[in-house]
């Protein structure tokens, strides 16, 4: 497995990727748009983009992922895609009848410079129906940037400060996480008695129940009314700097909704931060139910700390998720030694910046040092692991090649997970999500210990 990867580092200055740890903007935009109720994401580009994105999202969620395409031809690429998009809009409303179409661009349409707002203006849109768009050039950032851009577009198009005084409600921007995570974040907000608007919200869209009936636009998703009303909230909590803070800032600018950006609430510290933010904002004491959950988590962490303490872990994936995982690994007494994301680290297009600083701060507080890389690839991660082996690898499905090559226990967290199911239904966020992470990590480590133990060392009680 991966036998062509040498241990010695090669100087690579081309900027090319070998075994990427990111993909392109449009898939993130498509996923975000699915989190709007009654919305059909539309890919303005070649057919392959839409097909690839639907394929990957469907494999990750194992649920229908509906989206349409402008089906570009060579002619459209030369003369512009206006006619394609207008035809598409007309056909989509007549045939599939969504409430909303969310158009995102691709590298093709960005390169030829299609002016989407002008095209939408000229399009034949039935009364009461809505078309909005986000520019998502595939040659900037990553799928996380695309998610962020589409979320920001929801603010730009729909949020309105229509009420004279802000309402006692909070906007929760969950970031590029699974519907199971979004449900958990909402549950915590409910427990805290905090009225909220979550956007985007893919729960009830890509985790739909089996009923014997296919529903093209299922019950879930943030409604247009809620998106509009987000401008009246008294606070926005953006979870994850990379996926969510742009939308929160846009909302602050457009509707004067104060924004706070927190880490994706993975692990005890980040969940505490979310709970504290809601507690402060709504002046509500944390209910026993949540305090009990937290106490249970700490109990488990204490009871099992010896499984984790000092274990070396490599973590890769999307920056917000990786940040939360690294922080939780440290909370468990583990040592993150390689931490990598494929997404560029700071401002769009830049390789350096906040991701590396964030992770350095997290491991630094524990007196540890790590190889930290933004804008990296899995070829690099593999070489890092070859040079400094780890006890555990955490990341998306693509990590399985490295895990097998280096015989390292592997825990799947993040996007995409293509070879296991249920992951999108159950949370990794919140106190309950942290318990689940502990179960997954301990399971992987102890299964390995069992596998490698001699008969006389094979223990019943661990």
């Amino acid at each position: 497995m991966l036998d062509a990867t040498p241990k010695e580092f090669n100087e690579r200055t081309s900027g090319g990727m070998i075994n990427p740890a990111k993909t392109c903007q449009p898939i993130g935009a498509m996923y975000a748009a699915l989190g709007v109720h009654g919305c059909l994401p539309h890919s303005h580009g070649s057919q392959g983009c839409c097909s690839f994105h639907r394929m990957h999202l469907t494999r990750h969620f194992r649920d229908p992922v509906m989206a349409s395409t402008s089906s570009f031809t060579e002619g459209a690429s030369v003369f512009g895609g206006g006619a394609n998009l207008k035809t598409a809009i007309k056909n989509i409303f007549q045939i599939y009848n969504p409430e909303i179409i969310a158009v995102h661009t691709t590298c093709l349409t960005e390169t030829i410079g299609d002016d989407i707002p002008s095209i939408i203006k000229e399009a034949d849109i039935p009364e009461g129906k809505v078309v909005f768009h986000a520019n998502t050039p595939s040659y900037q950032g990553s799928h996380i940037t695309g998610f962020s851009n589409m979320t920001k577009a929801m603010v730009g198009y729909f949020a309105e400060a229509s009420a004279a005084i802000k309402k006692e409600q909070v906007n929760l921007i969950p970031g590029f996480v699974n519907p199971g995570d979004m449900r958990e974040i909402k549950r915590i907000a409910h427990l805290m008695g905090a009225p909220f608007i979550m956007f985007p919200d893919t729960s009830g869209v890509v985790d739909t129940p089996m009923t014997g009936e296919f529903v093209m636009f299922p019950k879930g998703g943030t409604t247009l009314g809620e998106l509009g009303d987000s401008g009246n909230s008294k606070l926005t909590v953006a979870l994850g700097r990379f996926a969510s803070s742009d939308a929160a800032e846009a909302l602050a600018k457009k509707c004067k909704v104060p924004a706070v950006t927190l880490k994706t609430p993975i692990g005890i510290k980040a969940t505490d931060a979310l709970v504290m933010a809601l507690r402060r904002a709504f002046v509500r004491e944390v209910p026993w139910e949540l305090e009990e959950e937290r106490g249970q988590l700490v109990d488990i962490m204490t009871d099992t700390h010896f499984h984790f303490h000092g274990k070396k872990v490599a973590i890769f994936g999307d920056p917000d998720i990786v940040t939360g995982l690294a922080e939780f690994a440290v909370s468990l007494g583990m040592a993150p030694v390689h931490v990598l994301t494929g997404t560029p680290g700071g401002a769009i297009g830049s390789d350096v910046g906040s991701f590396e600083e964030d992770i350095a701060a997290i491991v630094g507080q524990a007196g540890l040092k790590a190889n930290i890389k933004a804008g990296g690839d899995l070829f690099t991660l593999h070489q890092l692991i070859k040079n400094e082996p780890v006890d555990l690898l955490i990341g998306n499905t693509y990590g399985k090649y490295i895990a097998r090559a280096e015989d390292v226990p592997f825990v799947r967290v993040g996007f995409p997970i293509l070879d296991r199911s249920v992951h999108s239904y159950l949370p990794v966020v919140g106190y309950r999500g942290a318990m689940r992470l502990i179960e997954m990590i301990a399971g992987a480590l102890l299964d390995r210990q069992d596998r490698d133990a001699a008969d006389e060392d094979f223990e019943l009680v661990m």
Partner: protein
């Protein structure tokens, strides 16, 4: 349950007029009394229609080039296109030298905005250098994505310069996603490049064993090719190369030494098959290794071609032995499948091939179609002269080859060849329509709306298609079988594959999970009681 033209018209009436007019031509109800039935195919999908189709890049790099294991495949473009064709198609490959098996690697130039503005040629050249330095592959391919053609990067010039610099073949493929109307354009582009640069580049004049053949259009999804090769080798054939499942640059170079080319997926590889015949005089045989009967027939046709009594005898021996082995296994599954109906909508060959296997299990295919095939895949190759080129097909140049002066050799007398062509599908494909039963439906480029409508009308027991519609169909309570990825099972080809397929399809029918769809409280009123003489208890 057959469908009438009126029902189809009613279904299409929901479309805007232009769409209705267009889609009508892509749907045919088989009627053998009507003579030749024309179907429109390989034309543009109308924007906004939720299609299963992909792009030229997917067909070129994703399908045809990707499985070649000893080459490093570089995608020149933004990151996504490379990412989505990394391990996503189940084209298995093993290698005696694992250090030269690049199947689990994904290389992208990861174009950034500055590359779009100032050009990506320098970056591509650097990536090629790095890849050559790290992996030391025998050859490299470069596949273009949409922006590459738009900004005018000359990937051919970059590849040529790198080739001179590095001393290994570097093949450039201009398979920008917007070319053509589907993956099909990409197959053609890949075929041209492999024919021009790889096939015949080897030094060998003769194959290593007896009855040397190539298997074309077999991508080793789920190990299909390994099962086919197992059977062929037992009969006594020498497999020179497979295009391109578990294939290699090394083997492809000497593909000219084969005495016969087998064509499994006609759509994706018929260009190479035709060019091999022109250049080396090697005919191709349309085979179908899906299903027990089709596999046996393909083996018998091959034996007829080589016309050697020992080979024929060995062929019958292997067929008899394999049938005796798998038939009892199939029989137990047949009991679960008998009398059921299927939709079979897949890429460019499987939509046809799997109908035979379904039939062997007692399942009737009531609707079938291709995602990206051409008219000849439906109507047979005799329609090729009639197919008009349009703005989209014109953009994919035909590669013109001529007879190789040194290596061209007729494999038999023209008289015997003509005689053989009357008996077996030699350099000929009859298409899907020939095997469709009257009253069944062919749909080209089936889309989401039609999928839902046809299911409501025809209520199939199983739907064979891909990942994008799988869960749509299953939500409707109907088992969906992915025939692109086999739902991560396989092989489905050959004798063993038929058993695997029968097992998997039966599993879909009898899985207990279907019984749980309706919760018990939907079938029972909330309040229950009984009326007695005294009143309600």
């Amino acid at each position: 349950m057959a469908m009438t033209l009126e029902q189809i018209s009613e279904m299409l009436a929901k479309y805007p007029v232009k769409v209705e007019k267009n889609r009508k031509k892509h749907i045919v109800i088989k009627d053998s009394a009507a003579g030749r039935q024309e179907i429109e195919a390989n034309t543009r999908t109308i924007p906004g229609i939720i299609t299963n189709r992909g792009c030229a890049y997917a067909g070129c790099k994703g399908v045809v080039l990707g499985p070649l294991k000893d080459m490093v495949h570089i995608t020149h473009g933004p990151i996504g296109c490379a990412f989505y064709t990394w391990g996503a198609r189940r084209n298995k490959a093993r290698s005696e030298d694992p250090g030269q098996n690049f199947m689990n690697y994904c290389v992208s130039t990861d174009m950034q905005e500055s590359d779009i503005v100032f050009g990506g040629e320098k970056k591509l050249a650097k990536v090629i250098d790095e890849v050559a330095e790290i992996f030391k592959p025998k050859a490299i391919t470069v596949s273009a994505t949409c922006p590459v053609g738009l900004i005018g990067d000359d990937i051919n010039a970059v590849a040529k310069a790198a080739e001179e610099r590095l001393g290994i073949p570097i093949l450039a493929f201009s398979c920008e996603g917007y070319k053509g109307v589907s993956q099909s354009a990409g197959h053609h582009i890949a075929n041209n490049g492999l024919m021009e640069r790889v096939i015949g580049a080897g030094e060998r004049e003769e194959a290593d064993g007896k009855y040397p053949i190539n298997i074309l259009g077999e991508y080793n999804i789920g190990g299909d090719s390994w099962e086919i090769e197992r059977i062929l080798e037992e009969v006594g054939y020498t497999v020179v190369s497979v295009m391109t499942g578990d294939g290699s640059y090394e083997d492809l170079q000497n593909a000219h030494t084969a005495e016969l080319n087998l064509v499994q997926c006609h759509r994706s590889i018929n260009y190479i098959a035709g060019m091999l015949e022109t250049k080396y005089g090697t005919p191709w045989l349309k085979v179908n290794f899906i299903g027990v009967a089709a596999t046996a027939e393909s083996l018998r046709n091959m034996a007829a071609y080589f016309d050697d009594p020992a080979l024929t005898a060995r062929t019958e021996e292997v067929i008899a032995r394999e049938l005796a082995r798998v038939e009892p296994q199939l029989e137990q599954y047949r009991k679960l499948c008998e009398g059921k109906t299927a939709f079979c909508f897949v890429g460019g060959s499987r939509g046809h091939h799997y109908q035979g296997l379904f039939a062997e299990l007692g399942i009737d295919t009531v609707l079938a179609g291709y995602e990206f095939a051409h008219r000849d895949d439906y109507e047979g190759r005799e329609v090729i002269p009639e197919i008009k080129t349009d703005a989209d097909s014109k953009n994919i140049p035909d590669l013109h080859v001529s007879a190789d002066e040194r290596r061209f050799r007729l494999k038999m007398s023209p008289e015997r060849l003509a005689e053989l062509k009357r008996q077996i599908p030699l350099s000929y494909y009859a298409g899907m329509n020939a095997d469709m039963a009257d009253g069944t439906i062919m749909v080209d480029d089936l889309n989401h709306y039609e999928t839902e409508e046809f299911i409501k009308l025809l209520k199939p027991d199983i739907f064979a298609s891909g990942i994008k519609d799988k869960y749509v169909v299953q939500k409707m309570g109907i088992p969906a079988k992915q025939l692109h990825s086999y739902d991560y099972s396989g092989p489905y080809a050959g004798f063993n594959g038929a058993v695997n397929f029968a097992r998997d399809v039966s599993m879909g029918f009898v899985s207990p999970t279907w019984n749980f769809i309706v919760p018990p409280w939907k079938d029972e009123p909330l309040l229950t009681g009984s009326v007695t003489e005294e009143g309600v208890a």
